[in-house]
Amino acid sequence: MVPTLFGRIQTRLFLLATVGVIITLLIVPVLPGASGPIGPRYVSGFLVLASVAILGVLWEFLYHFLMQFRWEKDWPTSFGLLTLIPEGLLLFFLLRSGVASFIDPVPTAGQFWTHFVVVWICVWLTANGPMRVPFIRWRFRGGRVL
């Protein structure tokens, strides 16, 4: 899929709301060093997921801008994977620095990165193939779901 700006944003929100939610439901109970009641840990996990979605909309504007320097106006598969590094680092920094204080308890580094990387890879894998199975028009519309 070669994205347009709105396609990028829609695909991100859609996949985080589906694949991201499922993975979060499955992974939160088994994150490293997990203790305490499950309720607050889920709340915290979903807030992290929501932050990836909200911050991600801003990131997509940046990616769209960078894409303009490419003749093909495409976004290679590897870029979709590697952008997890800046996005993860920024979010981790925000969590640690207390800017995102509404996320409480703050996940440990191990918990955050495990959750973040697993969700990211699952979303990326889905976007690079299986997404086309139910949604046959998605790839021809620059990633727009609607």
């Binding site: 347009t4 093909e72 590897s78 199975v133 139910p134 046959i136 021809f140």
Partner: protein, 503 residues
């Protein structure tokens, strides 16, 4: 022989059922007919079969026996036999409308070769684009053609013309093969007709055409899309010089063959490569529209920038009309070839070894020398005149003839209200209905090369044909010919594809 076109029919734009009956031409009813029978017809039928249309509702009229026949002939001539790789994206699969699993996954799985996965992950940054083998494409097309019962829908014959029917729909006039029918023509009466007859024809470079006609020599001046194995065979027998014309993918392929043979068989072949437009570096109007290039070539992974099949360029072009659309085509157009590492190595070795010479120039004429070899008179932009002498000239420009060279299009333009788009080909709607030809509750569609210049640019490519097929299938669903495909039905159909069970 009876049952032929009459002057009355030929001269009347819209025919009645009585006129056809009076001419004594047998008439068959079929709701949907596609003319052509190549990959364009195939992917359209594939979509419609998967959308749920039974074979009894559709026919494909063709003079070839299987959909990839012409494509395989042309790729083989232009030096891509089955084991070689074509220039097409891994997820552009004419046998699989979902494009999943991609060809790369399939080849990696079948050959237990994870290197393909690494390549697809790192393309085009650390690696060349991964592209499928021609053989992989053909084998899968065969599997899918069987699965959708393609041959139950095939009618052999040559489509002569499509005319509007008074009261709605169209008549398609077909010339059946000798002896296959008692009459000279047969006619299909349809509500929907789809035309995918491919390239109207190859056009030779004018100076080469002149040479061939003047001297009657069709052996030494060849087009890369014609069988021209004699060139390579000759070069195996003694050292020779070849002039290559053109800067596209076919020139790259032919060069590779010459370099490969040179390497493998220790030949002394000299190559003179004439570029009319010699690209010496990145080029384009501004920083956000610059394509890489060098050594004569413009570099691009596929035959269009990647975003024409679904990204930004597709979205932009969809909104453009008239001159603005023509300009956009111009901006992203131009002959180009992929920058493959292997080809770069071979050309570098050729330049260093003094046996590959790339020059800018326009060829004014080609003449035979006294010893029977060929002299090209080449004038460069800086005024330099060169006269390379060669044993063979291979035209790799792949110029296409005007659409009116194909008589089905010529007839449509003359009698059925079809007209040309801003780049001179057939103007179609966003859903690939031919503009100006609507008739009652019927619709006439076209896809492929003839529609280049429309709201969607990548028409003459695998994925482009599938995009057209999807637009057509969705339009037919809107008109009630079939059901629209939603996520659940699509998923269940995908499983049928995966298990190779009938649709």
């Amino acid at each position: 022989m009876t049952g032929d076109l009459t002057p009355e029919l030929l001269g009347t734009p819209e025919w009645t059922d009585q006129m056809v009956a009076a001419a004594g031409i047998p008439m068959h009813d079929i709701p949907f007919l596609t003319a052509g029978g190549g990959i364009g017809s195939f992917v359209t039928l594939d979509y419609l079969r998967i959308y749920g249309v039974p074979t009894s509702q559709m026919r494909v009229v063709s003079n070839i026996d299987y959909p990839w026949q012409t494509y395989e002939f042309l790729t083989r001539c232009s030096q891509i036999p089955r084991p070689e790789r074509i220039r097409s994206d891994s997820s552009s699969r004419p046998d699989n409308l979902w494009g999943f699993p991609s060809y790369a996954l399939e080849e990696a799985w079948k050959e237990k070769n994870p290197a393909f996965l690494w390549q697809i992950l790192t393309e085009p940054i650390l690696n060349d684009y991964w592209t499928p083998r021609a053989g992989t494409v053909f084998a899968n097309l065969e599997r899918e053609a069987k699965r959708i019962s393609y041959w139950d829908m095939l009618v052999k014959g040559q489509v002569r013309m499509v005319r509007k029917r008074v009261g709605g729909g169209y008549f398609t006039v077909v010339t059946p093969p000798e002896g296959a029918a008692p009459t000279k023509r047969i006619i299909f009466r349809s509500r929907f007709v789809h035309i995918a007859v491919g390239y109207p024809g190859l056009k030779f470079l004018p100076d080469l055409q002149e040479f061939r006609q003047k001297y009657g020599d069709y052996q030494h001046v060849v087009n890369a899309y014609e069988p021209h194995e004699q060139v390579y065979e000759f070069l195996k027998t003694r050292p020779g010089t070849v002039v290559i014309r053109g800067g596209g993918i076919v020139a790259s392929r032919v060069l590779q063959r010459l370099f490969d043979d040179r390497e493998k068989l220790n030949l002394q072949t000299q190559i003179v490569h004439i570029f009319r437009t010699f690209v010496s570096g990145s080029h384009g109007p501004h920083i956000w529209m610059r394509r890489r290039g060098g050594d004569g070539w413009a570099y691009q992974g596929f035959n269009y920038p990647k975003s024409v099949w679904g990204g930004q360029l597709k979205a932009e072009m969809r909104k453009l009309e008239g001159p603005a659309r023509a300009q956009k085509y111009k901006d992203m157009g131009g002959t180009n070839t992929p920058k493959r590492r292997r080809w770069q190595e071979q050309m570098r070795a050729g330049r260093n070894g003094g046996y590959y010479h790339a020059v800018q120039g326009t060829v004014e004429k080609v003449e035979p020398a006294q010893d029977g070899r060929l002299i090209s008179h080449v004038r460069s932009k800086d005024g330099t005149i060169r006269q390379p002498v060669a044993d063979y000239i291979i035209d790799c420009t792949g110029l296409e003839a005007d659409i009116a060279e194909h008589r089905v299009f010529a007839d449509l333009l003359q009698y059925s209200g079809a007209y040309r788009n801003p780049v001179g080909r057939l103007e179609v709607e966003r859903h690939f209905e031919v503009k100006g030809t609507r008739n009652g509750d019927g619709a006439l569609y076209a896809s492929g090369s003839a529609t280049l210049g429309g709201y969607f640019p990548g028409v003459d490519t695998f994925l482009g044909l599938q995009i057209a097929a999807q637009e057509i299938a969705d339009d037919l669903a809107r008109r009630g010919f079939c059901r629209k495909m939603g996520p659940l039905r699509s998923t269940s159909q995908w499983f049928k594809w995966a298990f190779n069970s009938t649709v």
